[in-house]
């Protein structure tokens, strides 16, 4: 298992280098000039512009810039922001906990609420409760995040004045962002749990468990749910990865200084080091999360664990159960 983790961590390196080159190239060729944006259109003289370009190092040819950039990354130096002039790495580390808090707590929210709701739906499949919840989840799933966020601000901040509408601070600042960010995925996870459970509770081993005289609660949570977990873990993993870098909308609506808002602002001002640094950071987080998800699979299903452990087992009886789900190398799309 440790060998497997080490292997996966090593595999991350080429992936991240590819991401770095890709994002560098994209930003290099994307139209728009950071210097123009920094200095404004009319006030600056050509000399000023040339001087600034030289200072930022963007007057050099593509290859030279790329080498300088990659060299920096290898030394964990992500450069300085064009606009703010501060170190990108430090800024990312400062902003990361906020995004992580948001992502973790909304993940917790959707798991704690979504999984039991899905189980409840599955156990009452076809009945009124199930139908109501399914329609409700469909509605929640179709609500745009920003719209829900704005509505909540209108109600809870402007009207009732219960919760702060933006910024960061205590717990109260996170309540609305978490709810706004989670509702869609909560509905999603409820539906996934439901269908996954429905498949499992009709399987033979659940009948076996029932024939032992176990209570329905033990059957549901002890036998059925552990088997239904795999697709749920997948969804949670990709949701979490998405949240780490992709809560742009939520961070913008609620003015939370996290990674997402950092990235969006820097794209607007063509602040190349910040864009590159953020993307690379998001790619790295995503890779780590995917690794964790794969490890969770092994934890949830001994058959997958066996395929990780490799050929060390002497007593491999048969392979009829299959399920040799080879973990796909994390594909970083950001």
């Amino acid at each position: 298992m440790i060998k497997y983790i080490a292997k996966r961590l090593l595999q991350m390196i080429p992936v991240l280098i590819c991401v770095a080159i890709l994002i560098f190239t994209l930003m290099f060729f994307v139209p728009g000039d950071p210097v123009q944006i920094m200095l404004g259109d009319y006030t600056s003289t050509p000399e000023q512009i040339a001087e600034t370009r030289a200072r930022l190092g963007i007057d050099k040819p593509y290859w030279e810039q790329l080498v300088i950039y990659l060299n920096g990354i290898v030394h964990l130096d992500f450069g300085e922001s064009f606009i703010l002039g501060n170190d990108v790495g430090e800024e990312l580390l400062e902003r990361f906990p906020r995004s992580l808090t948001l992502a973790l707590s909304s993940l917790g929210f959707i798991v704690i609420l979504g999984v039991p709701l899905g189980v409840l739906c599955a156990l009452n499949a076809g009945k009124l409760l199930d139908k109501i919840l399914m329609v409700l989840t469909l509605i929640l799933n179709s609500m745009p995040t920003f719209w829900l966020g704005l509505l909540m601000i209108l109600l809870f901040s402007v009207r009732l004045n219960w919760l702060p509408s933006n910024g960061i601070g205590g717990v109260e600042y996170y309540v609305m962002p978490i709810i706004a960010a989670s509702v869609g995925s909560l509905a999603n996870i409820t539906r996934q749990t439901r269908s996954s459970m429905l498949e499992v509770i009709r399987s033979d081993y659940v009948t076996t468990a029932r024939s032992k005289g176990l209570s329905e609660r033990k059957i549901t949570y002890g036998h059925a749910l552990p088997n239904a977990l795999i697709p749920i873990i997948t969804i949670c993993g990709s949701y979490f990865g998405f949240m780490i870098g992709g809560t742009t909308v939520i961070e913008t609506v609620f003015s939370i200084p996290g990674i997402g808002s950092y990235l969006v602002n820097s794209i607007n001002s063509r602040d190349y080091p910040v864009v590159r640094g953020s993307i690379l950071f998001i790619a790295f987080s995503f890779s780590v999360i995917m690794l964790v998800v794969d490890l969770l699979y092994a934890f949830a299903d001994p058959r997958i664990k066996a395929s990780y452990a490799g050929n060390k087992r002497k007593k491999k009886e048969t392979a009829e159960t299959g399920a040799d789900e080879q973990p796909a190398a994390g594909k970083e799309g950001t």
Binding site: Y205, T208, S211, K316
Partner: protein, 335 residues
């Protein structure tokens, strides 16, 4: 079948059991007025083709039929003086696995893939014998050794076992709490022929050791001959012939039973073709209320078979046949 009197004490008696499923709007008549008894320490064989309703009978006794497709269940299953079908679910639970347990047809899917085999056995023991986890585990490992699996494999998962080994685990689960009644639902169907005999021997030897009664569901007449005391032949959800093993094997009365024996290849004769029972199994969505369900396939079919449902007639002591022509065919069928 109140008139049934077997010499030994009966402790399970199923009467007028009726089970219906719903299947996309249609009613499936799975079990129709089935009655039989099992005496203490004996084995009853339920024989019939696939889809005849054998497994449904078994699951109805344990009340583990799938809720989502069950339409109705009626009749009575009297076990030790109590009607199981009328018990509240919580009380029924205390019977499952403790007094009555079941071996399932397909060992490949009957075990939970994410739990170790010892956990799956210990679970029932801890529940029914008020043991703590550690003791239940010890007992479970003993059980594994009883069915021929060494203790060092106890903490392995089902996917690490072969089919025959898995079936041994299933047997260990079923017998873990010394049940009074064991229902074995085609315990050997999914296994290799070489393993079948081993598993059957294991079941019968454990059954004799523990004094367990058994309902053995099978479509294999050879298995019946080897293990059963009484035999019930199931066709279209009904028991069409019921009697002691000798009655059924030596004097089969119902044309379907005769056909079953006829379908067995005879090694002594040189035949080029097997002789199957012609036609297809009956449509389970049809309720045969005023005709014999076997009429369409019966070589001896008479006009009355399509007009009237045959009664359950006792042709000799303890031998019941549901056929209008029972007496006549018996003579013809004798080889």
């Amino acid at each position: 079948m109140a008139e049934t009197t077997l010499e030994k004490k009966t402790f399970l008696s199923v009467e007028n059991l009726l089970v219906q499923y719903k299947l996309s709007g249609e009613t499936v008549y799975a079990v129709n007025n089935v009655s039989f008894t099992v005496a203490k320490g004996t084995t009853l064989g339920l024989v019939g083709e696939t889809g005849a309703g054998k497994t449904t009978i078994a699951k109805a006794i344990l009340r583990i039929l799938p809720d989502h497709s069950l339409k109705g269940i009626s009749g009575s299953v009297v076990f030790d003086g109590k009607d199981l079908l009328k018990l509240p679910e919580t009380e029924m639970r205390s019977y499952r696995g403790k007094n009555i347990s079941m071996i399932f047809q397909d060992p490949m899917t009957a075990l939970n893939p994410v739990k170790t085999v010892v956990d799956q056995i210990a679970e029932g023991i801890a529940l029914h014998q008020n043991m703590n986890k550690a003791n239940a585990r010890i007992k479970a490992i003993e059980m594994l050794e009883t069915v021929g699996i060494s203790a060092d494999r106890a903490d392995e998962y089902p996917h690490q076992f072969s089919g025959g080994m898995k079936q041994r685990v299933v047997i260990a689960i079923a017998l873990a709490c010394n049940p009074d009644l064991l229902i074995a639902d085609e315990p050997t169907t999914a296994l290799d022929v070489t393993i079948q005999a081993q598993v059957l021997d294991l079941i019968s030897s454990l059954q004799q050791k523990l004094g367990t009664s058994m309902i053995l569901i099978t479509h294999d007449l050879g298995v019946v001959a080897g293990t059963c005391d009484a035999v019930a032949v199931v066709y279209a959800g009904e028991i069409i012939e019921y009697g002691s093993k000798e009655d059924i094997f030596d004097h089969p009365m119902h044309p379907y039973t005769v056909g079953l024996f006829g379908a067995l290849p005879d090694l002594k004769k040189n035949v080029n073709r097997l002789s199957p029972i012609v036609g297809l199994p009956p449509d389970p969505t049809v309720a045969y209320t005023d005709s014999c369900p076997f009429a369409e396939r019966c070589p001896h079919v008479a006009p009355q078979c399509r007009e009237k449902k045959p009664h359950n007639a006792e042709v000799s002591q303890g031998h019941f046949v549901r056929c209008h022509l029972a007496g006549e065919i018996a003579g013809k069928a004798a080889p």
